[in-house]
Amino acid sequence: MSADTHTLPAEFLTKKMKEGHMATTEEIRGKLAEIVNQVAGVNADDVQLDKSFTDDLDVDSLSMVEIIVAVEDEFDVQVPDEEAKNLRTVGDAVAYIERANA
């Protein structure tokens, strides 16, 4: 159903990392990998920093929209459409989240 959201296991996702320590790059990558797996069925282990969403992970443009919205929810960040276009690789997305949470 379309109403299905991208909920991840609570123990895996500490909502805002501000409440404890700042999340490490690897923690953010891991959570992003779970989102990409949920939305697009990509094996989470394949979601590495150097991978391009479209060219390497075969994520289509509509799935990318879903991933961005899930990222906004889970990491409590805003990703305007103009910015979303620049998130070509997993590393781009992780860096964006780190900057937004800094």
């Binding site: 159903m1 379309s2 109403a3 939305v39 697009a40 069925g41 929209v65 879903e66 919205v69 906004e72």
Partner: protein
């Protein structure tokens, strides 16, 4: 243009009786009811609470990510399509069929209503930014045809007839035409519906169209019984692989039977009531006979539209008498909606499938729940499973829709291969009785 023979080489279904053709067919032969009282909280307080949900949830069969990008109607269509494709001995995107010669025609009456309503709920509650970018390609009427066509790599065409409860007979008629006209060699044709939902139960209920036999749900769908009080809404999908005889023979395919004709008409009488004179319904059957080059004396069986509504069932009996004249005496008529409920856009396909199998196995499933037959129908209604005779067999499946559409599909047992598993069939038939009792 020379007319080409069109045979049925694959069948697939997911219905309230079972998650595949074998279970569904066994259920029909055993006279099993697929209808039940809706247990959802939302059903409380509705005047009509009887429906027929599918026996096997499609999400338990499909892969998770693909299923979440499909409306329920497309999930059901996909399950049935993949079964039909495998049953025809074909592999997905295999080299048995030239993609340029393969088409898909998958009908629906209502389409992706559950996605439409679910998405609107999300937008109202959480804002426009939270709606799924997949909502439109999930909810559009041709989503199932598009999705299955993409999966099979069908490049000759992808179509979605929409004619309410006659929709999937139109798909089969369209597949017949495409192959006859040389536009395709193989057409996956069928229909789907997945709209058992508070909105449909309320709105069909408001039309007084649904049975309110809430205290006796398994006997709610009872075509031609004097106490019938409306149809039972069902969900499900059915698909047929239609193929030119030449193409089927070249690859040594198993053949269930032959689609020899189709007839269309429009009542042009009322949006929802059938013309009580039955002129349009009669014309559809007469045109199907003419299209097939057959006469009423050739027909041995009719799977009637027979939805269990007070007016519809008697009008159809009149139409059948008008179309067949005195030859109506040797025609076994049944109403399989007594068991499956009414699949709307999937009805024509599941009932044409049942008609093809009835000829293939020379066995007509009965019509359950008839305690007292409506008097003076003038047709021979099968109330239990009936054998058909030897030799050539021809049968009609009727489907009639809101809006006025009437579509009759005519099939025969010509070119039929020997049944694959006759022992299993006779075992199932032996277990059938007067029925309605079995769960």
């Amino acid at each position: 243009m020379s007319s080409r023979t069109v045979v049925v080489t694959g069948l697939g279904a997911t219905t309230p009786l079972g998650g595949d053709v074998a279970t569904t067919w066994a259920g029909l032969l055993a006279g099993r009811s697929g209808t039940h009282l809706l247990q959802h909280e939302w059903a409380e307080g509705l005047p009509a609470r009887v429906a027929a949900e599918v026996a096997v949830e499609p999400t338990t069969v499909l892969e998770r990510v693909e299923a979440r990008r499909m409306d329920r109607s497309t999930q059901l269509a996909t399950v049935a399509a993949l079964e039909a494709w495998a049953d025809a001995g074909l592999t997905v995107k295999g080299d048995d069929v030239d993609p340029e010669r393969l088409a898909v025609s998958i009908a629906t009456g209502i389409g992706g209503m559950q996605t439409l309503l679910g998405t609107w709920d999300v937008q109202k509650e959480r804002g426009h930014r939270r709606v799924s970018p997949f909502a439109i390609p999930m909810l559009m009427a041709n989503a199932s045809a598009g999705s299955v066509g993409l999966r099979l790599g069908a490049r000759a065409g992808v179509h979605t007839p929409v004619a309410a409860c006659a929709s999937s007979n139109e798909s089969i008629a369209q597949g017949l035409d495409m192959i006859r006209l040389g536009r395709a060699d193989v057409v996956l044709a069928g229909g789907t519906e997945g709209v058992v939902h508070p909105l449909t139960m309320a709105t069909f209920g408001q039309m007084q169209a649904l049975s309110r036999r809430n205290d006796d749900p398994e006997h709610a769908s009872r075509p031609w019984d004097v106490d019938r009080d409306g149809f039972v809404l069902a969900e499900g999908a059915a698909m047929l692989v239609l193929e030119s005889l030449e193409h089927a023979r070249a690859r040594g395919a198993h053949v269930y039977g032959t689609v020899v004709g189709a007839g269309y008409s429009n009542d042009a009488h009322d949006m929802v009531q059938p013309d009580p004179r039955g002129l349009g319904q009669t014309a559809a059957m007469t045109k199907a006979l003419a299209d097939a080059g057959l006469a009423p004396r050739d027909i041995v069986h009719i799977n009637a539209h027979a939805t269990s509504t007070p007016q519809g069932d008697v009008t159809e009996a009149l139409s059948i008498r008008q179309a067949l004249g005195d030859d109506v005496d040797h025609v076994v008529v049944n109403g399989t909606k007594s068991m499956t409920g009414h699949l709307l856009g999937g009805a024509g396909a599941i009932e044409t499938l049942a008609t093809v199998l009835a000829l293939h196995h020379r066995t007509v499933p009965g019509t359950i729940n008839i305690d007292t037959l409506e008097p003076d129908l003038g047709i021979d209604v099968a109330t239990s499973t009936r054998p058909l005779g030897d030799g050539d067999l021809a049968a009609i499946n009727n489907s009639f829709g809101f809006g006025g559409a009437n579509v009759a599909v005519l099939v025969t047992n010509e070119n039929s291969s020997a049944p694959r598993d006759p022992d299993a069939l006779s075992a199932a038939a032996a277990g059938s009785g007067r029925t309605g009792e079995s769960q």
